[in-house]
């Protein structure tokens, strides 16, 4: 048994328009938790997919346990003992847990599925990683965190001794992430080598012993985690030193821009009241499911069952349709950019101008000059990295897609901009740029309402933080008095 379990040499992969990987070589030590880090578009996810056979590289060799291997599809990799826990879960939501776990080699009696044996097999797999899940439950009815457990159980049951985690915490709550970390540490002691793809610093430092940094598809370096500090890792990732971020705008508070009184929605949240003043960033903290997103969506008019009173600059808002919200200069950058934020098949220009096309039109005809000009202005302002305005949005990296969503609502010149997890799945460079834009907006005397599950982000950006728990506002902290500990206490209700 050699020390190196997996060796990648000169891996290259090219897509139309981008070189995703350019001669990357990495050695992965047996039994380590090895991080692949980099900004969005650096090639870390692509490299993970190469290792598990989802992508065939154009050049380079993969050596597993001293033998050169060629994976043509994921099943080759699974046979060789490489499994993946994927960012967007590759499972059939309409089937049961057991059916999913046995997909590919379903136990049968003749032509008929042997249900008893299937459930037994599934239970065994789940027990091995200590996951308490009903094998008969329909997968789609389970939370993302539990689905992920099932996926890990499946990979381990198929004999994986290398597991690749691709941004596993991107849709998990705080406590769910904690459980995942424990599981990864347990897997490590069981001798499974983990490759952890992420750009979240605190997770990496907590879990990983070795870090490989990629930038623009090229290998920057592979070093033990202990040799890095937060700052040196960021510098390695973005290739320059990050400017120190300043706090929120300490400008004068203006008049009340948005006033919400007694907003309720059956089964989601109740009796929510607050104000947002011009020049202010109000943050919403809370666990996943505390009702923060639902409050924003109700204000924006997406929730027909909501009751209460919402006023924008003193004018009543019917909050029954997004159209009226947009007319009153309200904007919402939704949590899920792919589902709610963008039409991925359309061009950047078309996405940017979608909510305000009426303003850029004369008698129903789009004024093409005006449209281009507007789109270009905010494309440049957000520094979207793309071949041009006419590029298809679906081909951009996550961070650039998020910039397009934000550009779209900045272009709408909102008086009140609501942003829901504005930097989720976005790399550090883009994150700073998005924060700068939000600061600019408040500095120009407009109001921002921000939901974020990243407490450091809230503490950095918000002038005031409202804490949600179980669909209610349970506390409000001014910036000066807030810290992570106080927030977590309020969020979880543990005194």
């Amino acid at each position: 048994m050699s020390e190196t379990i997996l060796q990648l040499k000169g891996i290259s992969k090219e897509y139309p328009g981008v070189v995703a990987l350019d001669g990357v070589s990495v050695d992965v030590r047996r039994g380590s938790v090895h991080a692949l880090m980099g900004e969005n578009g650096a090639g870390k996810s692509t490299l993970g997919k190469v290792i598990c056979g989802l992508i065939t590289p154009e050049a380079g060799t993969i050596t597993l346990e001293g033998k050169e291997v060629h994976f043509h599809d994921p099943s080759d990799a699974v046979k060789a003992g490489v499994g993946m826990v994927h960012q967007e879960l590759l499972f059939c939501e309409n089937l049961s847990v057991a059916e999913n776990l046995c997909l590919g080699d379903t136990p049968r009696k003749g032509w008929v599925v042997d249900r008893v044996k299937m459930v037994e097999k599934a239970r065994e797999a789940l027990n091995r990683i200590g996951a308490h899940v009903d094998p008969n439950a329909r997968l789609g009815s389970l939370s993302v965190a539990v689905q992920q457990m099932v996926q890990i159980a499946g990979a381990v049951a198929k004999g994986a001794n290398i597991l690749i985690f691709d941004e596993p915490t991107s849709s998990l709550s705080y406590s769910e992430s904690e459980r995942l970390f424990e599981l990864i540490q347990q897997l490590q002691t069981d001798g499974v080598t983990c490759i952890y793809v992420s750009h979240r610093m605190n997770e990496i430092f907590r879990l990983c012993d070795t870090i490989t940094v990629l930038r623009d598809g090229k290998l920057v370096e592979t070093r033990p985690a202990s040799e890095y500090t937060n700052d040196s890792l960021v510098t390695a990732m973005i290739g320059r030193e990050l400017s120190k971020e300043s706090g929120p705008v300490a400008g004068d508070l203006g008049e009340v821009a948005l006033k919400v009184e007694g907003l309720s929605c059956p089964g989601k949240f109740r009796d929510v009241s607050f104000e947002v003043r011009n020049g202010e960033v109000v943050g919403f903290a809370g666990l996943v499911g505390a009702g923060r997103t639902e409050v924003l969506e109700s204000i924006f008019g997406l929730e027909p069952n909501a009751t209460g009173r919402v006023t924008v600059h003193g004018q009543d808002l019917s909050f029954k349709s997004p159209q009226s919200a947009i007319e009153k200069r309200l904007g919402l950058v939704p949590e899920d950019r792919k589902r709610h934020g963008l039409v991925l098949g359309m061009k950047i220009r078309e996405n940017e101008t979608l909510p305000i096309l009426d303003r850029l039109a004369r008698v129903g005809f789009v004024r093409r000059g005006a449209e281009r000009e507007t789109a270009k202005k905010y494309f440049d302002r957000l520094r979207v990295k793309a071949p041009g305005l006419e590029a298809i949005t679906g081909g951009l990296s996550g961070g650039n897609q998020q910039k397009v969503v934000i550009a779209k609502w900045v272009a709408a010149e909102c008086d009140v901009l609501m942003v829901d997890e504005p930097t989720r799945g976005v790399d550090i460079g883009a994150k700073t740029e998005i924060h700068d834009i939000l600061r600019e907006i408040t500095a120009s005397g407009k109001a921002v309402l921000m939901v974020s599950s990243e407490l450091p982000e809230l503490l950095k950006m918000a002038t005031r933080i409202l804490v949600f728990r179980g669909g209610q506002v349970v506390g409000e902290l001014a910036r000066e008095e807030a810290d992570e500990e106080k927030l977590i206490r309020l969020m979880t209700g543990i005194a």
Partner: protein
């Protein structure tokens, strides 16, 4: 101006329709080569059996009734829906207009004059519009998939046509036939009006889709319903709009068709919906929504009619017509997908090197 024209032409050849145009040209060349010489009945000259003005105009006329409907159905398909009822709307519009005209002796003028023409057009197109609004309203309000709704109204509309006409064929006034069989100065028998109508509708449809706010909204809705809702689009109204336009264009097609052929019956346009959907899909519309053009729909209709004509011109056994058309539709769509993949790759490469 020539530079402008050249640029447009290049854009067209690089665009989505490139593959389709190529297929049409190649098929045209094959037909020209293999169709042999025939004698023109009127002038007595010998000419190519396929590539002669009469035959080409005949193909264009046949295609035009499909194409007008296909432009409308393409709008529906871009939103991710489907309209199976256009053939029935065609029959219903034709029959009711013919009955209406028969009941109005004042509109029976032999010579085409403006007022009767306008009145009958308004009736026919208006009924189509109402049928389309009905479809759209049901789809938008009941939130049932348009396949189901229009499958139902397909039978309902044809049923109404059957009941009102009592299953009989009803003649259209000769004046109207005169309008749609006008040669506009061409030789006798060269009916050019339906083709002009087709081109006109295609141009209007293209402008609607490419230049108007409403058209952009149609693409957005088909691309992502949820994102459209979050962007403040009135999704219900957009849906009702596309079905209304689809119905309206079916009515327009019926007006042209019934006038051209001189009669309307409840059995008209039976099975047209499938030809129309095939035209839209061959023209590059994607049934999953977000993709499609008016020009593509027109070219698709022309290609399908050309394939039917090819069977006659090349003296294939007519009994194999359905097999040949079915196969060609599938092949055409596969080719179209391959060519659009190629052009996407070319564009990506161009954007990388910085030149075009």
């Amino acid at each position: 101006m020539p530079v402008m024209l050249k640029r447009r032409l290049i854009a067209l050849l690089n665009g989505q329709q490139a593959g389709l145009i190529l297929v049409i040209v190649v098929l045209g060349l094959i037909l020209t080569l293999f169709s042999g010489q025939v004698m023109d009945r009127i002038s007595g000259h010998m000419q190519n059996g396929f590539f002669n003005p009469n035959n080409l105009l005949q193909i264009a006329s046949d295609a035009s009734f499909f194409a007008v409907m296909a432009v409308g159905v393409t709008l529906v398909i871009i939103t991710g829906g489907i309209d199976l009822s256009v053939g029935s709307i065609y029959a219903l519009c034709g029959v009711t207009t013919a009955i209406f005209l028969r009941s109005q002796p004042g509109l029976q003028a032999k010579d085409p004059s403006f007022i009767p023409f306008l009145a009958s057009a308004v009736v026919c197109v208006g009924i189509g519009l109402l049928c389309g609004l009905f479809n759209g309203f049901l789809v938008a309000k009941l939130k049932v998939h348009s396949f189901i709704i229009t499958l139902g109204t397909m039978w309902v509309f044809r049923g109404i046509a059957f009941v009102t006409s009592k299953g009989l064929s009803i003649n259209m006034p000769q004046g109207l036939t005169g309008v749609f069989k006008a040669t506009l100065g061409l030789e006798k028998g060269q009916y050019v009006v339906p083709s002009l109508l087709m081109v006109g509708v295609t141009i209007l449809g293209s402008i609607y889709l490419a230049r108007m706010v409403a058209g952009r909204h149609v693409y957005a809705l088909g691309g992502n319903v949820e994102a459209s809702r979050y962007a403040g689009l009135k999704t219900g109204r957009i849906l009702i709009g596309v079905f209304a336009l689809s119905g309206l264009l079916a009515g327009l097609s019926a007006f042209a068709g019934a006038s051209y052929y001189g009669a309307a019956s409840c059995a008209d346009a039976q099975g047209y919906e499938l030809f129309v959907i095939a035209s839209a899909v061959v023209g590059g519309a994607s049934l999953s929504g977000g993709k499609g053009t008016a020009l593509g729909a027109m070219l698709g209709a022309i290609l399908i009619v050309m394939i039917r004509a090819a069977i006659r011109t090349l003296h294939f056994d007519q009994n194999y017509e359905q097999i040949i058309i079915g196969t060609s539709v599938v092949i055409a769509v596969v080719l179209d997908q391959a060519s659009s993949k190629l052009s996407a790759r070319r564009l990506a490469r161009a954007s990388r090197t910085g030149g075009v």
